[in-house]
């Protein structure tokens, strides 16, 4: 959140006071052929949606379709990676004829249609922007994309084609800029509304908004400017020059992401995991074809980068639910395990081993007790032994390797009694205090190092590719900054050990 002078704010109110919306729909035969073939295949295998073979395989096509429909670039531009994904899809479906012979021809047709599209070398979205641009005699024109990572490339492309200083940006950037005279909004409205960017239409940043996309998408209705259930509004109505027909698009997937593959990823990680280890999490699709699970709880804080912030304010820890498309998260990409544990062990030196052994000793006994008698029974026993905070939630936390000891020594003593280590309670309490102190120092050191890296890092790679690598000295391992591209709407339960671990996402 940055300071906005009143004059800039006044521009925002002015642009919203008489906004005109125009719609420009494009059609291109090779593109339509690919979209239709893909839609037909999707319908044919709709009963197999939960099968990873199909959710993963169709995902290759659907994501490419989304980029084709949302990015004003020539279809043969390497950035769209159509050739690479045709190859991946062919490889993935190489077993189709033996596994699903009834669908093999359909798959082949989709691959062929995508290749035909690639070879056509068309650029329909840009063509439409160039044509429409010529009608508006104004300096301040912008183009909004619903995706990340293409804005610089598309900007170069459109500036060349229009011979102008046209800006290309994402909604995140748009919110911070002065309003434009004309704003081209690329793609279907739902791609913006679904990502909490519906304000592109309800609080427009231009006097003229030109919705531009493939024909079917341009029939979609705009979100209502009315926010509250009972209100008085002084918001000027948006003058939309078309009658919307909301029922024309049959795409149920979210911007080419078929989230049904999540269940497979969750199942793989949950195999053999203790119930006590499971935490609520969401999957985040990241740039460079990666993904990660992050805790869904508001208590969880994630280090993020704000590249536009002043150098000493780039590293910001934010609550996980605040992370959305465009956020840049820092995740551990090398070294494995919890970063704080690794750095804390480095601080402790030779003392780390015995201390960790003691940590594991009391926790494994407590977990075994819970497994044998059940959580409710163990809670009751802890209370009998004098615990004042024993309940299911705290018990789960005490069992977790992520906690070191109880807040209150009385609770710790109760645990020691329950697991028959009462005679060594004081020794264990002191040992866990040493670990806690090392963890605090580790957290402080990590933050300092990250802040230094964030201050001095060359963020060009981050802007262009959506990822950048950092390394931490003193055995901290490597971190990677990833731009978040999509956020799953579903909350799932994954073992805490898998939180923040980036992996390849096939969708």
């Amino acid at each position: 959140m940055k300071f906005v002078p009143l004059e800039e704010a006044a521009d925002v109110y002015l642009s919203g006071s008489a906004c005109q919306v125009h719609r420009v729909g494009v059609q291109a035969a090779p593109a339509s052929a690919f979209f239709e073939r893909l839609r037909d295949l999707g319908r044919a295998v709709s009963d197999l949606r939960e099968d990873e073979y199909w959710s993963g395989g169709l995902g290759y096509f659907r994501r490419r379709r989304y980029f084709i429909q949302s990015t004003p670039l020539t279809v043969s531009d390497p950035a769209l990676e159509l050739l690479a994904y045709v190859a991946r899809a062919r490889e993935h479906f190489s077993t189709c004829r033996s596994l699903y012979p009834e669908h093999a021809d359909g798959v082949e047709q989709v691959c062929d249609a995508l290749m035909d599209l690639l070879m056509s070398n068309i650029d329909p979205l840009s063509d439409a922007v160039v044509d429409a641009f010529a009608e508006y005699k104004t300096d301040r024109v912008g183009v909004v994309l619903p995706t990340f990572g293409f804005d610089k490339l598309v900007q170069r492309h459109l500036r060349r084609r229009t011979d102008s200083d046209i800006d290309v940006l994402t909604p995140r950037d748009l919110a911070m800029r002065r309003p434009y005279d004309v704003l081209f909004v690329i793609g279907r409205p739902w791609w913006y509304v679904g990502r909490r960017w519906g304000w592109v239409y309800t609080a427009p940043r231009a006097s003229v908004v030109v919705m531009l996309g493939y024909e079917d998408h341009m029939r979609e209705g705009l979100p209502s400017t009315r926010a509250f259930s009972e209100s008085v509004t002084a918001v000027a109505p948006v003058h939309d020059d078309a009658v919307a027909d909301p029922g024309t698009s049959d795409e149920g997937d979210e911007a080419g992401v078929d989230w049904s593959f999540i269940s497979g990823e969750v199942a793989r990680r949950a195999v053999g995991a203790d119930t006590a280890d499971l935490v609520e999490a969401r999957m985040y699709l990241l740039a460079a074809g990666c993904a990660a699970f992050l805790a869904a709880s508001e208590e969880s804080r994630v280090p993020t980068l704000e590249p536009d912030a002043p150098e000493d304010g780039r590293l910001v820890y934010i609550q996980a639910p605040e992370i959305g498309p465009g956020s840049i998260v820092l995740l551990r990409s090398e070294g494995g395990g919890d970063l704080i544990v690794a750095v804390a062990d480095g601080i402790l030196g030779p003392a780390a081993g015995p201390l960790r052994a003691m940590q594991e000793a009391w926790k494994s006994r407590l977990r075994a007790l819970v497994a044998e008698r059940g959580a409710a029974s163990v809670v009751a026993e802890l209370k009998r032994h004098g615990s004042i905070r024993a309940n299911r939630s705290n018990l789960a936390n005490w069992c977790s390797p992520r906690s070191l000891r109880t807040d209150d020594e009385q609770d710790f003593l109760a645990i020691m009694r329950a697991i028959e280590l009462e005679g060594q309670a004081a020794q264990y309490w002191k040992a866990m205090a040493k670990l806690e102190s090392a963890h605090r120092r580790a957290g402080h050191e990590i933050r300092e190092q990250l802040e230094m890296q964030a201050r001095t890092a060359d963020l060009t790679a981050l802007e262009e590719e959506g990822r950048a690598d950092f390394s931490l000295p003193q055995g901290g391992g490597a971190l990677t900054a990833f731009r978040v591209e999509e956020v799953s709407p579903e909350i799932v339960a994954v073992p805490y050990q898998h939180l923040g671990d980036p992996f390849e996402a096939r969708a």
Binding site: M1, K2, F3, V4, P5, L6, E7, E8, A9, A10, D11, V12, Y13, L14, G16, S17, A175, R196, W199, T202, A203, T225, R226, A227, F228, S229, E230, S231, V232, T233, A234, V235, A236, E322, G324
Partner: protein, 301 residues
């Protein structure tokens, strides 16, 4: 962009109150703040101290940008709740009328100062009583009750630190809006000279009219006993964090449509509306500033 002509005119009035004339640094010249900005000043003035039969006002505004919405509403609230300067001479009828209205809207138990000749005594406001001579303000002092007609109410003033407005939000952004030179009074003074924000006050400065609570964390000691006339929440995060702590004051919640948490903020307001337990069907008479959407209701919670 069309040239905005400078407006030179009278100060705003809201229900008989004089609201400050504010100017901003335009590209070519200093200009009066535009109608939408004046709308927030008026809104804050109307919302401050807004109670009806013990039910407080809850208002939320959906805005296209958060810039200055909360700050200007706060300026209106402070201006409306700041008693006029009352000297020993006879105040005008209009001044007495405004002051009486201000005192009448106080919550029972509010600490006041009563001047009697050269002495000043501390008392508490009990309420208004009707009499053949008209309404009387009842002040309880040590061992006795005193009743003041309108003509004598200038002897009563608000005591010590009485917050007209409590802002909830990002301190650094408020600081620029309140202490910077972008928007100023007619005398080119920063808004802070009107707001008198405790957070920015010098140690010796006791004339505090407003303060800022960060959107997260604990209540600072200086605000634990505060009973502000209006709480202005700048965004969903602060509203979500603090709403259960401050159910004794009127609220004004600013929700920025471009915020990722806008929908959540709307949902929270709709929840408050559903659970308001109000005996009043009639919505408060408030006007949304141009370009915004306003939801307002009375709440007994």
């Amino acid at each position: 962009m069309a040239v905005i002509e400078e407006e030179v005119g009278a100060e705003q009035e809201e229900g008989g109150l004089q609201l400050p004339e504010l100017w901003y640094a335009g590209t070519r010249a200093r200009r009066r703040i535009p109608p939408w900005a004046e709308g927030f000043v008026r809104l804050g003035a109307s919302a401050a101290g807004a109670f009806w039969d013990g039910e407080r006002l809850v208002a939320a505004v959906a805005v296209p940008t958060r810039a200055y919405a909360a700050t200007l509403a706060g300026v209106g609230a402070v201006a409306a709740r700041t008693p006029p300067a009352l000297d020993d001479g006879k105040p005008s009828a209009e001044v007495l009328e405004n002051h009486f209205r201000l005192l009448s809207s106080l919550r029972p138990g509010t600490t006041v100062t009563v001047r009697s000749g050269r002495t000043k005594n501390v008392g508490t406001f009990e309420g208004i009583e009707s009499s053949g001579r008209g309404p009387l303000i009842v002040i309880k002092q040590k061992g006795f009750r005193q009743m003041f007609p309108k003509s004598g109410c200038h002897c009563i003033s608000l005591h010590g630190r009485s917050l007209s407005c409590l802002f909830v939000g990002r301190v650094n952004v408020f600081e620029e809006e309140m202490t910077g030179k972008d928007v100023v009074t007619r005398d080119s003074a920063p808004l802070e000279t009107v707001l008198k924000v405790g957070r920015f006050a010098a140690r010796r400065d006791h004339d505090i009219r407003s303060d800022i609570l960060p959107a997260a964390g604990d209540v600072p000691a200086r605000l634990r006993e505060a009973q502000p006339d209006l709480i202005v929440f700048d965004g969903t995060a602060g509203f979500r964090h603090w709403r259960e702590n401050w159910r004794n004051a009127p609220w004004l919640v600013i929700l920025d449509r471009t915020s990722a948490h806008f929908d959540e903020g709307v949902q929270l307001i709709d929840e408050e509306f559903a659970e308001r337990a109000s005996t009043h069907d009639q919505a408060p008479d408030l006007r949304p500033p141009p370009g915004t959407e306003l939801m307002a209701f009375w709440s007994s919670r």
